[in-house]
């Protein structure tokens, strides 16, 4: 429980704190996603090989995710959003798997999964939920959007209102809790392994097994985040009949 981040007051304002390692890690994650996609899509050929195959598989995968929740005519607006979200969350989840950097004495973290911080995941979730409302207004018109609050029966309106908040909270907390638990268990296993020579052998196999498991958790959470974004989007965007 001694993990802590270096926090700096922005412009000396006491309530405007900035989490410095997280900013760096977010930038690194974005750079990785950008360059991987950039170099995968450099040479486009008629008969794809290697990297282009992988990218086309991903594109087809997102297409399936979207078309399983809404009709493709509406869904193609969110195609790029889906690819961006799944790649970003996946890369961010994977960053903490191979190693974690922290200072020895007071354990300031400098490298781990940026998604193991609740602020990042909750703001990502908030951004997704706000985007569903914006697209709801844009694609259905303000009148239809307003009427949607009172469907199927008007007295359910307060619950639909609360649902938006609980959706935001659960969408962010699910990702955060999974990745945070993964980080904590990995740190504990490494701490056990470095405690004595006997445990160095004892903790090696569980550590490797758990790293493989955390690759699985990371990909599954990235998929679920993308899937739920599309489900919430479909609730707001598609017509019910």
């Amino acid at each position: 429980m001694d993990t802590q981040y270096l926090k700096v007051d922005l412009f000396g304002i006491p309530w405007l704190t900035v989490n410095v390692p997280n900013l760096i890690l977010i930038t690194v994650a974005m750079a990785i996603v950008f360059f991987v996609c950039f170099f995968m899509a450099r040479k486009i050929e008629m008969y794809p090989t290697g990297a282009q195959n992988a990218l086309e598989y991903l594109v087809q995968f997102i297409k399936n995710v979207i078309s399983s929740t809404m009709e493709w005519e509406r869904g193609k607006n969110f195609f790029m959003l889906g690819i961006t979200l799944i790649l970003y969350v996946f890369v961010a989840n994977m960053m903490g798997v191979p190693f974690e950097l922290a200072t020895a004495g007071d354990h300031y973290v400098w490298w781990n999964s940026p998604t193991s911080n609740a602020v990042l995941t909750l703001s990502l979730a908030l951004f997704v939920i706000v985007l569903t409302h914006i697209y709801g207004i844009k694609l259905k018109g303000p009148k239809e959007y307003g009427k949607d609050w009172f469907r199927p029966v008007p007295f359910l309106m307060p619950f639909k209102f609360i649902e938006e908040f609980s959706n935001t909270l659960t969408l962010g907390m699910r990702l955060y809790a999974n990745i945070y638990a993964k980080e904590v268990i990995l740190v504990m296993l490494v701490g056990l392994g470095t405690s004595s020579l006997f445990w160095a052998f004892g903790a090696f196999v569980p550590l490797v097994v758990f790293q493989a498991f955390s690759v699985f958790i990371g990909s599954l959470q990235a998929f679920i985040f993308c899937m739920l974004t599309m489900v919430y989007m479909a609730h707001k965007v598609s017509d019910e009949h």
Binding site: M1, S68, T69, S166, L169, T170, L171, M173, R174, A177, I224, M227, L228, V231
Partner: protein, 72 residues
């Protein structure tokens, strides 16, 4: 000491409830798929809507456990 026990109870009971709930949803989806293999896509989508709904309450409990952990 009592607070630590409370945190453990909150997280553990949430895990029990969430595990049972998610297991019921996934088991029934699996049954549906074995009965109607051609409905696999729609059933999977429904499962991915249903599982987060069940999972929401354990996540709230975990949030409360984290909040209590901050007060320790």
């Amino acid at each position: 000491m009592e607070l630590g026990l409370g945190i453990g109870l909150a997280a553990g009971l949430a895990a029990i409830g969430g595990g049972i709930g998610v297991a019921i949803v996934i088991a029934n989806t699996l049954q549906g798929v074995t009965r109607q293999p051609e409905l696999r896509g729609p059933l999977q989508t429904l499962m991915f809507i249903g599982v987060p709904l069940v999972e929401a309450l354990p996540i709230f409990a975990i949030v409360i456990a984290f909040l209590l952990l901050g007060n320790m």
